[in-house]
Symmetry: C2
Subunit: 326 residues, 2 copies
């Protein structure tokens, strides 16, 4: 008997539906969120669910009623938004880490270069007729630390390597190392080396361990003209500490794609708690590094590969440690 898979994504196009069926139809009975109700029999019997942000009321109701779920596959790399309190305790959950690693890496490097070369600031001055010089930093001379050295970090390192930086240091708790990185350290060693770092790039997911990790202590140990890039999750940094640090250190630059506050509906005017948007030494982008619409098909493809592994009884990838999130 085929296992039941719930596709908890809204507004899937006919083309996307066909794509899903083509990928896993052979192994699964597939139900799409827009066609089902929370109390349907299929929901109760479903073994697998593919989810996105799970922010909608309907998605949450469906998850609360899917009492026989054994495996949840996220279409996103970050799984911090899942409604863990509604899920069975022994459930297996996989993130979609790596699916858009190249996209995020390109964006992270775009932010890194925009910050080191002060592109945004120069542009702002030029529009006011001001020709002001400054001293852009060279990647070639920089010591770069990638916080959360995994799929995305590796793609960042591969590309930055071509700029011949002085040193590339990765940070992860597994001790994972490869040929693209000079050195990998554990998180508890960061404070020993952060003082020599010119560019700190965070790709960290939001977990109990990473929340508020970059605080005033870390920031105060950094070089006065260092660059901090965040393409992971906003709450890894303490907003108030970053704001104060930027205000007091005009030579320090932050380039931030992930935030503390997000618009609750499309088009809503949104600022952060602190007036970060008034500072000259921050570059702000609206969570564009990896999640935009043009990529959905690719994310879906990558996520369904893992669902297929589950359905075929093969080893599933990207299984998260639930205790990191609850």
């Amino acid at each position: 008997m085929k296992k039941i898979v719930l596709m908890l994504l809204r507004n899937l196009s006919d083309e996307d539906r066909k794509f899903v069926i083509g990928k896993i139809g052979e192994y699964a009975e597939i139900y799409f969120q827009d066609d089902i109700e929370p109390y349907d029999k299929a929901v109760k019997e479903a073994e697998v669910a593919l989810v996105s942000t799970a922010r909608s009321e309907k998605t949450r109701e469906i998850l609360a009623n899917a009492k026989n779920l054994k495996f949840i596959q996220s279409i996103l790399a970050g799984v911090d938004n899942l409604p863990y309190n509604l899920l069975p305790k022994d459930i297996m959950i996989s993130s979609n880490a790596g699916a858009n690693a190249e996209e995020v890496a390109e964006f992270a490097i775009a932010l890194t270069l925009a910050a080191t070369k002060k592109i945004v600031l120069f542009d702002r001055w030029m529009r006011r007729g001001i020709w002001r010089n400054d001293t852009p930093q060279l990647i070639r001379d920089a010591i770069i630390m990638i916080l959360g050295y995994g799929n995305i970090g590796r793609e960042i390192a591969k590309r930055l390597r071509a700029f011949k930086p002085r040193k590339l240091i990765g940070v992860n708790r597994r001790g994972y190392k490869d040929e693209y990185i000079d050195d990998v350290i554990k998180p508890d060693k960061i404070r020993d080396v952060i003082g020599s770092v010119d560019i700190l790039i965070s790709t960290l997911p939001l977990t109990k361990e990473t929340k508020d990790f970059i605080d005033k202590d870390i920031l105060s140990r950094m070089k006065k003209n260092a660059v901090l890039v965040n393409v992971g999750r906003g709450r890894v940094i303490i907003e108030e500490d970053l704001y104060r640090h930027l205000e007091e250190n005009q030579g320090f630059t932050a380039a931030i794609d992930v935030w503390w506050r997000y618009p609750s509906k499309k088009g809503e005017e949104t600022y952060q708690e602190t007036p970060l948007h008034k500072l000259d030494n921050i570059i702000m982008t609206p969570h564009m590094a990896g999640g935009w619409s043009g990529f959905r098909r690719k994310l879906l493809d990558y996520a369904l590969d893992n669902v297929k592994r589950y359905l075929k009884g093969e080893n599933v990838e990207n299984i998260i440690r639930i205790e990191d999130y609850i």
Copy 2:
């Protein structure tokens, strides 16, 4: 007898003077611009001059009186500003091409990524509380053309290669090709392939041949959402044509570091002839790609290596074709 070398740079520090003497003192009698007058005997007898922009009145007077000059070494990669009318017809001139190729390449890639990811535009919106999505382009999927494939082009290609672009096409008239570029074409073939190009990066010097090369015909053949980066010389593009093209094609983005108008003195408010600064689809930086003060020592070092070759009777590099400039 040692040959006389005129160092036509202003305000050289004691350290820089010592550096110059250390590099070529063994082979040359060195005179620094700040210490000499145009009618000095040393000027008349000098065989070699090292020059920068040669914009100052004193530099020009010295050059006009240096009737025995045989070799001029520029400290800049671009030699379009030299006073060719004051120089002997049979003089040999070398540019400093390659000296800051890595610096310019980093900056060119910073502009390329800022444009493809719309970093500057996102930042402008975010500061007004606007969370607007757009579709950033991927370098990975792009066909990239490097106009003027030489020292700088090679450093750009080396780095972009790590982003795995679909294709890297170089353009030069020598047919020079290396392992970093997929294809090299001659300038007269550009119109045949420009329609497929996603990103056009110009590193062209300003010569009789390159002046006004990028005109409305070239621009109109380009993709509507293409990106144009210029780190060579401003006048390679026709300003009016670029302005009109940007105004009529909001999806097209220009990222420009080199200009038509420059401030005539430090701190002077400067705009271009057309109101480019009012357009959303241009990124503007004040000629920062390769020339800032932190690099002078490196440029000097590179230029003096070539002067030393001349003094020792070795083969001199980077000899320009004077007929390209007069």
